[in-house]
């Protein structure tokens, strides 16, 4: 991680290149959902709720397996300028669909769907305030909400470990990395996001394995050594996020 930082380089926030924003995970934020977490990555705040329903989509019926899915939304004025309400426009945009597909895939990677039985857990990730990195915050927070929801099912005796493996195995967290003014940086905020050359979202588990990797060259194409530097930063950031998840869960 010893990227040489050029003289005079500074992130808008004053953070070090490998420094996360202040991360906060508040469990039981609302009271109806089986899991409810307000996650903050600096000024980015996402409410993640996990809702359990005792049914699965038609394509899974009778197979004895469950499903985990996600929906993502942004309150119209979570951002600097108001954006249209998707419900009023009558459809979800491509960005929204892309993000909610990513969240769902990421979290299914740590779930024993057979242990769940024919249940669906929906992770609603609603952005209350946006300052960059909403999808990675959503994944990180939704993991905690998911653990809480499955714990409810376990305590009720509806779901059990199978073959010694708990229904949620391992942890999943996510962070963005990028090349900002030539320097690889961790956890981009909005000011960096609009002005960077490359932006990469990384989802990993607590064993250091990659679950999702989505990199986009915004300006010039990025080189392999930049890719290596970014993934190394992401590994380090996600290790820290997993610790924070554990602290929040008291485990």
């Amino acid at each position: 991680m010893a990227a040489v930082v050029p003289d005079g380089f500074a992130r808008p926030s004053g953070r070090a290149p490998d420094e996360l924003r202040p991360i906060r995970i508040q469990r039981h934020f609302t009271r109806h959902a089986e899991g409810s977490v307000l996650v903050s990555f600096g000024d980015t705040q996402v409410l993640c709720t996990a809702s359990v329903e005792n049914r699965v989509g038609g394509w899974l019926r009778g197979k004895g397996e469950g499903w985990v899915t996600a929906e993502y939304g942004m309150l119209p004025r979570a951002t600097h300028t108001r954006s249209d309400r998707e419900a009023a426009r009558g459809k979800q945009g491509g960005r929204t669909l892309e993000i909610q597909r990513l969240i769902g895939r990421s979290l299914r990677a740590c779930v024993d769907r057979k242990a769940l039985g024919e249940r669906t857990i929906t992770l609603d990730c609603d952005v209350i305030q946006a300052d960059g990195g909403t999808r990675t915050a959503a994944i990180t927070g939704a993991y905690v909400a998911l653990v809480d929801a499955v714990d409810v099912l376990v305590r009720r005796g509806e779901v059990k470990a199978r073959a010694g493996r708990p229904p949620i195995f391992g942890a999943v967290a996510a962070v963005s990395v990028g090349i900002y003014r030539g320097v690889p940086v961790l956890d981009l905020d909005y000011a960096e996001d609009v002005d960077c050359d490359t932006d990469m979202n990384v989802v990993m588990n607590d064993g250091g394995g990659f679950i999702e990797l989505q990199g986009t060259a915004e300006g010039h194409a990025f080189r392999r050594e930049e890719l290596d530097a970014m993934t190394a930063l992401a590994e380090q950031g996600i290790a820290r996020l997993v610790e924070i998840q554990r602290e929040a869960l008291g485990s």
Copy 2:
């Protein structure tokens, strides 16, 4: 308000018939919007943001007037059981449209639209947690967000008082009243709402004038004396809500 309360009558919450839930108004809840208020009526929590845009709809263009409108949404798991996300279903339901039309009409009643100039202020009322009375909480909170947004415009010198009248004249607040087990009660929570005979939403100004009155007999039709008792309760409750708005605004 000396309705004779029958022996053994109790509200689920233990409140007196004419008692509001704990009311809380938190200003500056999020940082991008010109006005941002989290309003709580007990466990009902609504985030109300006011967004200013320097344009008006086509039907107003060139008339030198502004517009105030509202949009309402409920996070899917704001309620006991998860409801479909309207953006995913591809349309807003009738209840949503009805409520947002009500909020918009109610707040336009205290706005000097000529003073606004050709600007639109959109009040987004998003229910974070629902326990009955979301539309009345939304109106009460959105008023405060609207005042904050107009203050921003006044401080910037973009909007001025006209003929000695401020651009927002008077206050607007709302509360529900109903007949629960034969007794008129103020500010119904969810447990009362699903089990009452009549439910009425009342919007008033700080001068004691009615802006909106929407009463529905859920069980038996209600009599004129019940109507009178309910409107009297509403007058009293709204007078208190207006005080709380003033305290929040520090005015």
Copy 3:
């Protein structure tokens, strides 16, 4: 009802303040529906049909109860200027949804849903010509169509009175009232509607009970004494409408 009418006050139609427009209820207007009524409140004409289907929505299946619902539409050129066809625009507007929800709730108030059995009665209220008061005319006419449709079911032996109470108990009618140039008036036509300070739609039963009350201050907020004057006018108007319904039904 002795409101003092100021000198020189005149309604655009020349009617007295407490005078209904000519009301006409034509039963059996079209031949396929179980109930079919063309109702006229002056130049406002609404075709109300009641259609019986031997099924209920999923949420009622197996409960042995029926449902009564309404849909409302306006022919594109029912009004002074042509409005878009909602089917072509691809969605029903908020006003339409609000009105059809009101009609459905109002009529369910006089129906013994258990007596209906697992049947749905849909009241289609289509405005052929509009001159103000379409929703109140629709409720008043739809009641008659509903009675005719239930009579068909009774005559076929499919529906019976329960415990001495007929499947349709009591009558339901509706009228608008308002404050026009300072004077409370009954049954507003379009010319009054666009120019009044307050507009209130009132739905009552034949026992003088309120079923729905929806008042909106268009100009200044209305005072309690204005509310009292308007509801008194409505009571009187609805009593007359119930008589006209009875005459039409020959009962």
Copy 4:
């Protein structure tokens, strides 16, 4: 037209093979539209209104020409069993779109669009009651509404004849023909329509020219001599319909 009618052949209505249903054209049926006609072909009743707007679609702007278009709808209970309301379903069906395109094309065939100037005339054809032949009744009635609307424009001095030709030149009417139980018949009603081998809709002008011809073999394919018999019947029926249009217009 001397088709040999087999012994024992009878139409459900008792009509002769070449006999139209009773035709009725009521002008000025509603009061807001520039043209408003209720047309009846027996029990089929269609309200046709012509609405004038002083604008054209973007593709015509600046060309000095007008446009004539049609929209078609069926009230949900115009038919034996209730059909879904297209506005509620959120889209117009293929049959509806097909019919309204046909009506629009048919009527544009008798309009001098340059004489109209940059105006749009929309013909709304709403079926109040259906008993077969709604599209042919709609075309026949909409022609009369269109003439009335253009007369309004002529009387206002907004539209003039060009080069000695009136803005509406000639007449347009339509009728269905078919093969019912082996016999060519004119103006099918619903009982014939559901039980015939071939169904053809014919639109002609008053000069005996074909504007539209749409034939469909419902059972077996039809032969050229059947085609000839059907078009001959249509010619005769349309000649009579044009007379009835003229009588209605008092011309």
Copy 5:
């Protein structure tokens, strides 16, 4: 067919009035579908696939019959200028719906739906390149794809001839005819289509029976003798198309 062709008349393509464009039918064009045909009428190219599914719509369930239906689409740049993608616009246009209804009706005319059993065959007709006559090419090609798909079912033993009649009885083909500069012509290409007075699409079976006939006067109304000349041309063209279908099928 001895229409007198005026001196100096020439079709844009140089073809004789009764001359088809080069017709080409390529079977097994793609590999997944049970039937897959690329049909070319000159530069018009349509990919027609037939897909078998072992289920029918709700209205047919339990009746022991199958269904044949069609969907039609045009690639956005099949035409001279790019048209909007219907999937992106969120709805199929009226023209598309009209054409796919026509294709479906036409092909059902040669299918023994009882022999199919409860199966649906969907004919997807996607226009790769358009030069006029896409719907008639689609019908002509889809017939061949349908035959191939039913052959698959017959070879698998899932479908059998009933009462000596094969499941597909007879052939169906289609061609357009029109009046171009006063002369009846066969198989219009785009240059003729935009410039003709009358355009007629004709669908016939191999026995010379008419299945669909849809004629539209684009300029002046057409006379009976023109109708006769056009249907004669169509008969001749379709006879040739049926031969080409047979050659393609090797039967």
Copy 6:
């Protein structure tokens, strides 16, 4: 690239781990579009057309820049079982939107948008036949169509090189890589795609820079060394694809 391949490992297609499928690029496949390419990666066939329009979206108007965008579609029976037509369902799915956003971003990376002027080039990528890797084939083919379209503009004198740099600078191509039964493989076909542990789509330019990288762990999470092996395979495959593009373009 010397991954040790375990004994007995075989790809379903028999290809070597680092072997592309047969690649074919047919230019001028259809005749209307400015660029039209049928690209085949084995049995995957995508028609890519580039359409030029002399306008840009509102957000770019007046800025003197152009735009390049993509739309993606799959013919309903491009796949093993028929999928719903998106135009008929009324919306594009999340996968479609995600892919077309990816294609658009990828190609904008090699375009001098200022050189284009206020023009939009739309790349329509329609999958005729699918056997895995449709999005990477689409990007690879669309690049060639884009070059052809810009050449048309250059030949017409409408677009010029700026500051010595051609309007399209460099090349863009894409390929998928994955871990199949423990072995990193290049250019997955459908049989591998449904059965692999990790799937990664890589977009690069001809200078070896990464433009997009999207990796998903389908089974177990992937390790850094697997990531390295996959990106190395992608580099090699894309170098070959760029050669094939050059050959096709004759440059």
